[in-house]
């Protein structure tokens, strides 16, 4: 029974209007949410668990370790830093595994599509050719499906690869970063193998040196960022189309009182794409009409929402933290879920209404849900079965409350290809204008706001950080539920430039872009890696990702995937700020993450709780990089005479002002 409706002692106040409006309704009075459970659980989090020093890796324990107390090391002798590092590394392994299993499904779906099975087709042939080139697949005079099949099989082989060859996509990284990985011996090999090795090395009695453990943790995370996540993003783009700028809406107001509302929740877009296609079929529309609905309204929740938002402009109703609220409207006929971040509570919330929770993946079932297995080889048929089930529920709908006004316009679709194109058009596409305007100081730097929602901090945290960043001329890239939250805050629409500092505003006005760019779901953080690499390649901002005036944050992280993302960012040279880490129980290890990693990676983890504090750290780090690059001062205008033009060819050109000499085609 929900008792308090604006958060509780254990969690931050609820600030999100649509959440507040819904929970205040009579029909929602029996809905129990995460906020309620924090209160009803009545106990605070375990100190050892939350500081990373509870070891459950063998049956001698569990052992609670107290740093600095000699008697309080593990029964096996494991020290606080070993235990904290092992736990942290296992979190990374779990996060990577989630992305990896997601990616594997996408690659398999891609192969089926290449074979001509199922409803999908190879949509983005340009991108197919680009990725094929990276994998050494010949493209000339070849059918797109033939290329895709070869590419797909090579991609799939990367998961199970057993030889010592580094993952193919690593070579997309800046040269210097590749050399660093090689030198440190952390180039990931087989994608699955790195998770297995991580689990093995953190088993009782294997790797007991925290820095060594973190080497494998980096390798495991990199196999996610530059391996599975990147494969997933790129192949999904090829199959479903690379996102381009488009308009959409977010927040609960996207639900429709006179249509069959079906929310899709989870992560893999294969199912969601099939639902989108099936929902346009005449027999399904007819069926909806027959039950008295005006149509079928698909709406996204969590990262599935982001996937179909980016590629199809399908509205997003809610992020992770609102998955219970969207059901509490009483307006949802079915919530179709697949994998990751689906709270077990949704099936219980649904019991209050006519809503069905439909699980679709054999990996992910829950009590009180309806299971309709999504068959990829009969995707459209599966999707129709699911839709029909939902449509039939429509008649059972009783009282609903949809906060109609709570919907916000957004512009989304900023893949790294979009960024490249929007800065120069079809003929002059490049990152040059971005680099240029960072160098000349109009844009101070780039801040990525990624990750989840979490009851621990208030919903508006993303917004507060983003507003502070853009006010200080930092361009914001966003993914995942953080992006949804920023959309609800009205920062993903172009009119939001009025909140940006004068320099950023001018650049946004020139391009016509919002100050916060939605780059996709959480698996799409790989887009940020490529965008960062492109900035390095374009020149004038150093020769590695760690030189860029750029930094990321996952201020409301919840999922283990966020930690994997954090580690692959750091190992790639990009700093991150998290709200907390379960590593404080070991001073040595915690400091290693916060300071020690700088020597190896040129980047570290930062921890800060208050949103303005997070923003301050981000801006400071950006300013430090600007200083190191020597771009913190007013620059003289370089005027070219004939001699300088002649020298363009002799040397590497004058990168600062975009004169790159003859290497224009690379």
């Amino acid at each position: 029974m929900a008792t308090k409706r604006d958060g509780c002692d254990g969690c931050a106040d609820i600030t999100c209007t649509s959440t507040k409006l819904i929970l205040a309704q009579d029909i929602a009075k029996n809905v129990v949410t995460a906020y309620d459970r924090v209160k009803s659980r009545g106990m605070s989090a375990c100190l050892f668990g939350s500081s990373g020093t509870c070891c459950r890796n063998c049956n001698m324990g569990p052992c609670q370790i107290i740093d600095g107390v000699e008697e309080m090391i593990g029964i096996c002798g494991a020290t606080a830093e070993t235990v904290a590092a092992r736990n942290f590394a296992r979190t990374i392994a779990a996060g990577s595994a989630a992305h990896t299993d997601h990616a594997r499904e996408m690659v398999k779906g891609f192969i089926e599509t290449a074979k001509g099975h199922g409803p999908h087709e190879i949509k983005d042939v340009d991108k197919l050719h680009k990725i094929a080139k990276i994998f050494g697949v010949a493209t000339e005079d070849r059918d797109k499906n033939e290329i895709a099949l070869e590419l797909g099989e090579l991609a799939l082989a990367e998961f199970g690869s057993q030889d010592e060859k580094p993952l193919t996509m690593l070579k997309r990284a800046p040269q210097k970063r590749q050399e660093l990985w090689k030198k440190m011996g952390i180039e990931p090999r087989g994608i699955d193998r790195e998770v297995v090795e991580m689990m093995h090395r953190t088993h009782m009695g294997v790797d007991q040196e925290y820095k060594n453990i973190m080497l494998q943790a980096s390798r495991c995370a990199l196999s996610d960022g530059w391996g599975s996540s990147m494969l997933s993003t790129e192949l999904t783009d090829i199959m479903f189309g690379t996102p381009v700028p488009r308009r959409a809406i977010v927040d609960m107001g996207v639900l429709k009182s006179d249509q069959v509302n079906i929310t899709v929740h989870g992560h893999e877009p294969l199912l969601a794409e099939a639902l989108c296609m099936a929902a346009q079929e005449q027999d399904i529309l007819d069926l909806a009409k027959k039950v008295g609905a005006k149509g079928i309204n698909l709406a996204g929740v969590c990262c599935t929402g982001n996937e179909i938002l980016m590629r199809r402009g399908i509205p997003v109703a809610a992020g992770f933290i609102q998955q219970e609220m969207v059901l509490a409207t009483g307006a949802v006929e079915a919530m179709v879920v697949d994998v990751q971040c689906v709270m077990q509570s949704v099936a219980q919330v649904a019991k209050n209404f006519h809503t069905d929770i439909i699980t679709t993946n054999y990996r992910a079932k829950m009590p009180d849900a309806v299971h309709i297995q999504f068959e990829e080889d009969a995707a459209l048929e599966s999707a129709k079965t699911i839709l029909k089930h939902a449509i039939n529920n429509y008649k059972k709908r009783s009282k609903v409350f949809i906060p109609q006004k709570e919907k916000v316009d957004v512009v989304v679709g900023f893949s790294h290809e979009t960024i490249n194109n929007m800065l120069g058009g079809s003929f002059r596409s490049s990152y040059r204008p971005l680099n240029d305007n960072i160098i000349n100081g109009r844009i101070r730097g780039v801040g990525a706001i990624v990750g989840c929602d979490n009851y621990k901090l208030s919903d508006e945290n993303h917004e507060i950080i983003a507003r502070e960043l853009i006010k200080n001329d930092v361009l914001v890239l966003a993914t995942g539920c953080a992006a949804t939250s920023l959309g609800k805050a009205g920062l993903l629409c172009p009119e939001a430039i009025k909140f940006a500092g004068p320099g950023l505003r001018e650049v946004c006005e020139t391009v016509g872009m919002p100050p916060v760019l939605h780059m996709g779901s959480c698996v799409d953080n790989s887009r940020i890696l490529i965008a960062a690499t492109e900035m390095v390649r374009e020149g004038g901002l150093g020769d590695d990702i760690s030189d860029l005036p750029a930094i990321g944050t996952a201020p409301l992280w919840m999922s283990e995937k966020a930690v994997a993302i954090g580690q692959y960012f750091v190992a790639s040279g990009a700093q991150v700020v998290f709200q907390n880490l379960a590593t404080t129980g070991s001073k040595k290890f915690h400091n290693y993450l916060l300071e020690g990693m700088m020597d190896s990676y040129g980047a570290v983890w930062n921890v800060a709780k208050e949103p303005l504090e997070i923003a301050r750290i981000m801006i400071e780090r950006i300013d430090a990089k600007r200083e190191a690059l020597g771009i913190n001062k007013q620059r003289e205008r370089v005027l070219f005479d004939m001699k300088m033009r002649r020298d363009l060819d002799a040397g590497a050109g004058i990168g600062d002002v975009g004169c790159t000499g003859p290497q224009h085609n690379t």
Binding site: T418, M422, D436, G512, H664
Partner: protein, 734 residues
């Protein structure tokens, strides 16, 4: 802000494309799809379309695909709120605009053949010249390549008065820029303003009236596209290469004078793709963030008195101008200006009076630097039409000065004197001819100004070898005759020295990479007996240039071991060229057309091509517009010979090399030559006949065919048989 600009540009592009398509539909109806279309005398088809898309538009029917491409590029209008990014769509719309305008203009050539004069200068009835043909383009392109012209101003509209028009034109000329003029402002056209203001317009003064409507702006862009293809070796269809090349090297910009229409915005947006920003005198929004252009993209509301300075600053151009203290304007833009009879105040030399110019070196102590004397009457002492004899004697001294450098310095007189606005100089040595215009006299011209110019500029350009310069100018006949006498003896010594220099006796050759700013992989090798193919740089120039600037474009090369005397292969040359071309060219034969011939940037005076059927070689000069026996005109041949690649059977050559003993030595020398345009044959007739004598075949001169004898291989073969041409009995060259 930029949204207004992008919205207008996209709107404009829609209008332009609609208009062009309508014209096209009508033309298809009238002429049918097979109807040929082209710009006059060019091998680059419709150059923007050709360079960006690689598509050759040769018939009306070919346009169909391009219009489809335009429609694909053309974005939706920008919405008022919740807009999607509009910069990229506006740039694409600008590109579609140029494609559409190019097709529109080519149909105009078809519908109204007399709309443009197709000449270098305006005709009596028509001021609008239209697109530059390849002859004009190559001639002017050289100036882009060697830096005499850093770029161009594409002007849309007109300033409020003819005085301001003249002033803006003059300032742009003083920055050495070409000025391309298009469209009107409230019925007034800038080219007309200039003519009314007594300013000479045409290619020769770099004030080029392209067309009376905005669509002719595409001629300016097409010119830039051709520069990249002809000199930069950028392949058609390599759009990014072409655009970046122009951004980095062609310092062009759009100057919009007057209210900016949607159509102007569309053209301006298109130009940004090339890195060409827009500077406007009108109150329109600005786009200041950088990135696609080197600096700002649109700068507006600029007062007329600052507009030229602002424009070159925005484009990122530095023009090094040493101020010469004379009352007339001075610079390369005035070199081609003509003094016509009606404008003439007086003239010297050129058969009217005795005229001579000569430069000699002296001891340091004998010269007072900066001293300029005029003995005899000066301009102020005479009336209009009173022609004077003239001798210009320049005496120089310097620790690094050598007598070998005298002719090089002396050769500068021609263009330096021509640089003075209102003065025209022709010829050299004792056949020099100077015309002094009324305009110059009105501004206070004195003959002493020749001295000031020569003193100032020779110091500036040759400071590393001359320390002191004094100039003596005589207009009294007996003094002039004295200088004539001195000059004759100097010339005789010089000619003897030049004649004795040979490839076999010199160990050092010189490289020339002056063109590398525009032709990155091309390297010229200059030998005593092979002048650079542009005709402008001989071996002594290389030597002097190296002395002046030891790290400059002319480097001495130890020719090293001779690996093949007939082909002219030298170890040292090969090593150098491999390195200087960054591996693009590894072997070079100095005397062969067929085996590893020399590469070319594109600014050659003439092209040699093998005629397989005739077993001989033809040479065609740049100015010859007609068909040649190779089945190609000069413009097409230039595409094969230029761009920095070795193409056996095609090679750029200078006219001077035609009479060198080393000419085509590997193929049998001059005896292999079977065809020359009449104009070229006549130009070099004297020396050519001498060479024929030297090789013991005085009758050979008559065996070389010209277009009068034929323009096909069959005709030439017949002519050769009739004359008993020696190439017929030589071994097969192919």
């Amino acid at each position: 802000m930029s949204k207004i600009i992008c919205s207008a540009a996209i709107r404009g592009a829609h209008k332009i494309l609609d208009m062009a398509e309508e014209t096209y539909e009508a033309a298809i109806k009238k002429y049918g799809p097979e109807q040929e279309v082209s710009f006059p005398n060019t091998a680059y088809f419709l150059p923007v379309i050709y360079s960006m898309l690689g598509a050759k538009v040769q018939t009306l029917g070919d346009m169909k695909d391009i219009f489809q491409e335009c429609r694909k590029l053309l974005p939706a209008m920008v919405s008022n709120d919740l807009w999607l990014p509009y910069l990229a769509p506006a740039l694409d719309a600008g590109m579609a605009t140029f494609f559409a305008e190019e097709m529109y203009e080519s149909i105009r050539y078809l519908n109204t053949p007399e709309f443009y004069t197709k000449t270098e200068d305006p005709t009596s009835g028509n001021i609008w010249l239209g697109a530059a043909d390849d002859v004009i383009f190559r001639k002017r392109g050289v100036e882009f390549v060697d830096g005499t012209a850093p770029g161009f101003a594409a002007i849309m509209g007109a300033p409020p008065s003819k005085e301001i028009a003249s002033k803006i034109a003059l300032e742009l000329q003083e920055k050495n820029l070409y000025i391309f003029m298009h469209d009107e402002n409230n019925g007034v056209r800038m080219a007309d303003q200039l003519v009314e203001g007594g300013v000479q317009v045409g290619w020769n003064t770099r004030l080029v009236p392209f067309g009376p409507t905005y669509t002719s702006a595409v001629f300016a862009i097409g010119f830039a596209c051709r520069v990249a293809m002809a000199f930069g070796g950028i392949k058609p269809g390599d759009y990014r290469g072409n655009l970046i090349y122009n951004k980095d090297r062609t310092f062009a910009f759009v100057m919009a004078l007057g209210p900016v229409s949607d159509e102007w915005y569309a053209n301006a947006a298109g130009a940004i793709n090339w890195g060409f920003p827009t500077i406007s005198d009108y109150d329109i929004p600005e786009v200041l963030p950088t990135g696609i252009c080197t600096y700002e993209h649109v700068v507006s509301n600029v007062p007329h008195k600052e507009i030229v300075q602002k424009a070159i600053e925005v484009r990122g151009l530095k023009v090094n101008i040493a101020k010469i203290d004379i009352p007339m304007s001075f610079g390369p833009a005035f070199e081609g200006e003509r003094i016509r009879k009606d404008d003439l105040f007086m003239e010297c030399g050129g058969g009217r009076t005795s005229g001579v110019e000569v430069l000699i070196s002296k001891e340091m102590s004998e010269i007072e630097d900066g001293r300029v004397t005029v003995e005899g009457k000066d301009i102020k002492d005479i009336k209009q039409g009173e022609n004077l004899p003239l001798a210009i004697l320049v005496e120089v001294a310097g620790r690094e000065m050598q007598s070998d450098f005298e002719p090089i310095l002396e050769r500068q007189f021609h263009h330096l004197i021509n640089y003075i606005q209102g003065i025209m100089h022709m010829g050299q040595r004792n056949i020099m001819w100077v015309r002094i215009g009324k305009a110059a006299v009105e501004k206070g011209f004195s003959l002493a100004h020749f001295g000031k110019v020569l003193h100032g500029k020779l110091h500036q350009e040759f400071g590393a070898i001359v320390d002191k310069i004094q100039v003596k100018i005589y207009t009294e006949l007996d003094k002039v005759e004295e200088v004539q006498e001195l000059a004759r003896s100097v010339y005789a010594k010089r000619d003897e020295r030049l004649g004795s220099m040979a490839d076999d006796t010199e160990d050092i050759f010189y490289s020339c990479t002056l063109c590398q700013s525009f032709a990155p992989s091309h390297v010229c090798i200059i030998t005593p007996e092979r002048v650079g193919m542009c005709g402008a740089y001989n071996w002594l120039d290389g030597k002097a240039s190296y002395q002046i600037n030891p790290t400059g474009p002319n480097q001495p090369i130890e020719k090293g071991e001779c690996l093949d005397p007939q082909l002219g292969v030298f170890k040292g040359i090969n090593e150098f060229i491999n390195q200087a071309s960054r591996g693009a060219v590894t072997d070079l034969s100095c005397y062969s057309l067929m085996t590893d011939p020399m590469t070319a940037c594109g600014c050659f005076e003439a092209i040699a091509a093998m005629l397989p059927q005739c077993n001989g070689i033809m040479v065609v000069n740049r100015d010859f517009p007609g068909m040649t026996p190779s089945g190609m005109k000069f413009t097409t041949l230039a595409g094969m010979a230029g761009g920095g690649a070795q193409t056996p059977g095609f090679m750029g050559v200078s006219k001077h090399y035609m009479t060198s003993p080393k000419l085509f030595m590997a193929e049998g020398g001059l005896k292999r030559v079977v065809w020359l345009p009449k104009m070229l044959k006549e130009e070099i007739a004297e020396k050519l006949k001498m060479r024929c004598e030297e090789m013991g075949m005085p009758e050979f001169f008559e065996m070389i065919a010209t277009e009068e004898n034929g323009t096909t291989e069959e005709e030439i073969l017949a002519f050769m048989k009739e004359k008993g041409h020696p190439a017929l009995s030589m071994e097969a060259a192919v």
